[in-house]
């Protein structure tokens, strides 16, 4: 089986509006990689493929926006998609701990795009700063500060969420 397909799909899920869109993006990306339009340079195959996924996503966003009569702003689209994902029913998860499990997912969905992206690449995909910098096209210093701000923001929202819940359920 193709390596890194899981990682490509996970990443696309965080970027795209729906599972179907994510699948389309991944298929596009693998074909582009295979055709060699985006030759693997230097860094490892996983971050290479994720870079192509990212490019395919932004291309498809642009196309959607061109087609749409009234274009939605970028982050609104992505967030909408993710909230849909966060609230989609998941039979594997027991209903009791559903809310708890979904909390972080929902909070992640509400973060600005660049915060969410850097968190996913670092915390979920285990990528190092250099690869994240290359993938997101920013200097390593920016990755470090963005990651720090993203973590602080998520932590803040998380604490607030816990606080509100503890007030709601005495």
């Amino acid at each position: 089986m193709l390596p890194h397909l899981d990682a490509a799909y996970r990443f696309a899920r965080w970027l795209a509006r729906s599972p179907d869109d994510a699948q389309d993006i991944v298929q596009d990306a693998v074909l582009r990689a295979y055709r060699g339009y985006d030759a693997l340079r230097g860094s490892d195959a996983k971050s290479w493929l994720l870079t192509i996924v990212r490019n395919c996503h932004s291309t498809s966003l642009k196309q959607q926006r061109r087609r749409a009569a009234a274009p939605l702003p970028d982050d609104h689209e992505a967030q909408e998609g993710f909230i849909a994902m966060a609230s989609a029913p998941d039979p594997e998860t027991a209903s009791i701990d559903r809310d708890e499990r979904r909390t972080l997912q929902r909070l992640m969905a509400n973060l600005p795009d660049d915060y969410r992206e850097v968190l996913v690449l670092r915390e979920i995909e285990d990528m190092n700063y250099r690869d994240i910098a290359a993938l997101t096209n920013v200097p390593v210093g920016t990755v470090m500060s963005r990651l720090a701000r993203a973590r602080a923001a998520l932590k803040k929202h998380w604490l607030r969420d816990i606080e509100e819940n503890s007030r709601a359920v005495p």
Binding site: P3, Q27, A39, L104, I124, L147
Partner: protein
């Protein structure tokens, strides 16, 4: 007020510091309450994210879709994409304009007077490439029995893009690919396993160097052939017949893709 060391604490947590830097940060944490708290927060958030976020896998429908799309792609453009970016136009234009002409003449002169020593150097490179791959356990850079994986990997890592296929049905299973340095180029090495034997198939851009068709040295057989502008060499300690069968399979594959590409 944030401690100026906070980014370094984060970098240490993310495994981005070397041993000295990490020890430094650990010492700092001992007497900085703020950074101790930050480190705790980082760990807590990391654990929670790993626990609570969905760790999805690509649905099998997607896997099938992608594989089908790749096969389609093969059917439509069967000619192996020679990464003829291999110093093609820009390189030659650069050479033939002005001062480059002398260099071309020099290159031609060199290739016309192939000395046995030059051939020998190439044979030695191939042989040591083969033996080292067995000794150092550095047999493959990309491990896969899937030519969809190996082929694009070469496109990014070597100067050529050789035909790749799995001949498991014929007894030659594709193990993976590797880069080797042959004739001053990043050659592609496709690795096959045949029984207990490893066969390395080197591919690099032919420089018109006169190479023997076959050669045995130190108990290893080398079989050379060219196709288009590419030079191939299969190296192994299998018998001649086994080696020749693989060479024939590869040549047929290459011929098929040429035919299909021409039609």
């Amino acid at each position: 007020m944030q401690c100026p060391e906070s980014l370094r604490v984060q970098a240490e947590f993310d495994g981005e510091l070397d041993a000295v830097g990490a020890a430094d940060v650990e010492r700092h944490r001992e007497h900085c309450a703020e950074c101790r708290a930050l480190h705790r927060d980082l760990a807590e958030l990391h654990d929670a994210l790993r626990r609570d976020l969905p760790f999805e896998r690509a649905p099998s429908a997607l896997q099938h879709r992608v594989m089908a799309a790749l096969d389609d792609e093969d059917a439509r453009t069967p000619a192996p994409k020679r990464a003829t970016a291999w110093r093609t136009r820009p390189f030659w234009i650069g050479l033939t304009s002005g001062i480059g002409t002398a260099a071309v003449a020099a290159t031609l002169a060199l290739s016309l007077f192939v000395t046995p020593a030059a051939t020998d150097a190439t044979v030695n490179e191939l042989l040591s490439g083969h033996v080292n791959s067995l000794l150092s356990n550095h047999l493959i850079d990309v491990a896969s029995s899937d030519h969809h994986t190996v082929k694009p990997w070469f496109a990014g890592n070597t100067d050529v893009s050789p035909p790749v296929a799995d001949f498991a049905a014929q007894g030659y299973s594709l193990v993976g690919g590797r880069v080797a340095y042959v004739d001053h180029q990043r050659a592609a090495v496709v690795v096959y396993r045949h029984g207990a034997h490893v066969i390395n198939v080197f591919t690099w851009a032919s420089a018109g160097k006169a190479l023997p068709r076959t050669l045995t040295r130190d108990g290893y057989h080398l079989s050379f052939w060219t196709s288009g502008d590419l030079q191939y060499c299969a190296v192994s300690d299998t018998g001649w017949d086994e080696l020749r069968s693989l060479v024939t399979l590869l040549q047929n594959l290459d011929a098929r893709s040429h035919d299909a590409g021409a039609s």
